[in-house]
Symmetry: C2
Subunit: 265 residues, 2 copies
C-alpha cells in the first residue's frame, strides 16, 4: 500500500490540555490526535507538529502532518477526527501533501497573537482567553520597542530558562528574525489590546517573555532604552516575568505554498 | 444596627452553573453569592436577582440586592466577594440603594444578546459562548420578522412549556413589550452574528425560543408570514425548538436611575 503524507490544520482551546506535545503527566493535543488517528487508520500514527505550545496556550491554525497508508480521501480524516475528538480540538482542513513536507522542518514562519484586558475587573467569559492586566497601559509608549524587535536578533533575553541546549541543536542558537510586531486596540472595546508577532521562528516562551517585558514598557516601568538594553543583554534574568499562557494564540504557520500540496488523485 | 439595602452588578460565565437560582441539584450563582455574603456579613443573607438565568446562560450585567446590617462601605462588599468567589463570577459594582429597591420588582426592562456562528467548523475558544449554526443564514431575510416583534404582544408561542402558571402570577400573563430587536453581523468576522432584544420583561426561555424560530426564518425555512402566524397562534407547539443556552448573555437590567441610589454616608 502506498504511503501518504497528510497535513492537518488544527484549532484548539488549550485550557484543558498540558500543551501540544505528548508527555506523561496529563492530556495533550498530540496524544488526543494520535489516539484517534490510530483508531481511524488502524495503524500506529505519529504526528509532527509545527511547534510545541505550552499548557493553556490556544491555537487558531496549528499545522501537523502524519504518514499513513489508509486509502480514504484526505478530507475524510478531518471529518472522522472531528466526530471523535472533544469540541476543544477541531480539524479545520486535511489535505494530501508531498512526501517531503514536514510540519516543523518545512515551516518558514509563524504568527502569534497575545490578548490582554486592562480594565479593573475581568469579564468571566474572557478569563480563559485573555490575560488580565489591570494597569494604566498606553500602547503608544511601546511603539519604539516593538519597532526595535523587527529584524534579526539574538533573543536569549526572552528564551525560557533551561531550553538553551535544545534551541542550539538547530544551529542558529537563539537568533531569530521577526517580520512584524504590533500592538492593536479593539476600537469597540478600548481596554482590549492584542500584541501580534510574526517571525521565522520563536524560542520557547519567547512571545510570553516579550509580552511580559513590553507590558512593563506600556505602563512606563521600563523606557525604550531599557528595553533595548534588555534585548542586547542576551540574559533572561534582565527581562520581566513570563506573561500567562491563556492570552496566547498560535495564529498561523507559514509554508511555501507552491510546493507542498498534492491533489487528491 | 441599621438595615441597609445593597445592590450588586454581576457578570458571570454560566458554563459551570445550574443557572442563577438556588436549587438542590447543582451549584448556582445565587447560592455561591449567598454563601460568601454569609461569611462576609456573619448574617444569613438572601439575595434577590433581577431574573433567573438557565444553566449555561451568561450574564454581563445581572443585578441583585440584599439586606444587611454589616457596617462596611458598599464597595467593600464587591472587593470581598471578588476575593472569595471563583473567577467565573465577578462583582462589577456594589452600592447602597434605597430600602424599597428590589432587583426583580423594581426592574423596568432587560436587554439580552444571543451570539451565533454560522461557519462550517466552530472555533474551540468560542464553543462555550456562541451557538454553532452551520447553515446559510441571511440576516436580511428576518428583518421584517424582527420588526413584527417590536411592541406589545402575547408571547405564549415563545414561552417555555409548563411555565404558564408562574407567569400568570404577575397578572399580565404572557404579554410583554419589546422595545428593540436587531440582528447584527460582526464586520470583521462575517460568519459571527448577534441577536439583540430589549423589553419590559421576558418569559422563561423566551429569547432562546425567539432565536430558535428566527434562525429558521434566516435560512428560509419559514417566511415572514409564517413567523407572524406563529406569534399570533399563542401556542408553543407552533414555534421552532429552543436555541441552546450557551449563546445567550443577559446584558443589562434597566431601573429608574433617579430614585434608587443612596450615597455612601
Amino acid at each position: 500500500m502506498q504511503q501518504r503524507n497528510i497535513r492537518l490544520l488544527i484549532a484548539y482551546d488549550g485550557t484543558n490540555f498540558c500543551g501540544w506535545q505528548r508527555q506523561c503527566n496529563g492530556p495533550t493535543i498530540q496524544e488526543a490526535l494520535e489516539k484517534k488517528l490510530g483508531i481511524i487508520t488502524q495503524e500506529s500514527v505519529q504526528i509532527n507538529g509545527a511547534g510545541r505550545t505550552d499548557a493553556g496556550v490556544h491555537a487558531l491554525g496549528m499545522v501537523a502532518n502524519f504518514i499513513t497508508t489508509a486509502p480514504m480521501p484526505a478530507s475524510a480524516f478531518g471529518k472522522a477526527l472531528n466526530s471523535m475528538l472533544p469540541k476543544d480540538i477541531r480539524i479545520l482542513d486535511a489535505v494530501d501533501v508531498s512526501p517531503d513536507f514536514h510540519a516543523r522542518f518545512s515551516a518558514q514562519g509563524k504568527s502569534y497573537r497575545y490578548d490582554i484586558f486592562t480594565g479593573p475587573l475581568q469579564l468571566p467569559a474572557e478569563r480563559l482567553y485573555r490575560t488580565h492586566f489591570p494597569c494604566s497601559f498606553q500602547p503608544e509608549r511601546l511603539q519604539a520597542s516593538l519597532n526595535l524587535l523587527i529584524g534579526t536578533h539574538d533573543f536569549s533575553s526572552f528564551e525560557a530558562v533551561g531550553s538553551r541546549d535544545r534551541s542550539r541543536t538547530t544551529g542558529r542558537g537563539a537568533v531569530r528574525t521577526l517580520f512584524h510586531t504590533q500592538c492593536l486596540v479593539d476600537p469597540a472595546r478600548p481596554e482590549h489590546f492584542s500584541f501580534c508577532f510574526s517571525g521565522d521562528g520563536f524560542l520557547r516562551h519567547m512571545v510570553r517573555n516579550l509580552v511580559g517585558t513590553l507590558l512593563w514598557v506600556g505602563i512606563g516601568r521600563l523606557s525604550t532604552d531599557q528595553f533595548a538594553a534588555i534585548l542586547g543583554a542576551r540574559d533572561r534574568k534582565k527581562a520581566a516575568p513570563t506573561a500567562p499562557a491563556c492570552g496566547l494564540f498560535l495564529e498561523k504557520v507559514y509554508y511555501d505554498e507552491r510546493t507542498e500540496e498534492v491533489r487528491d488523485s
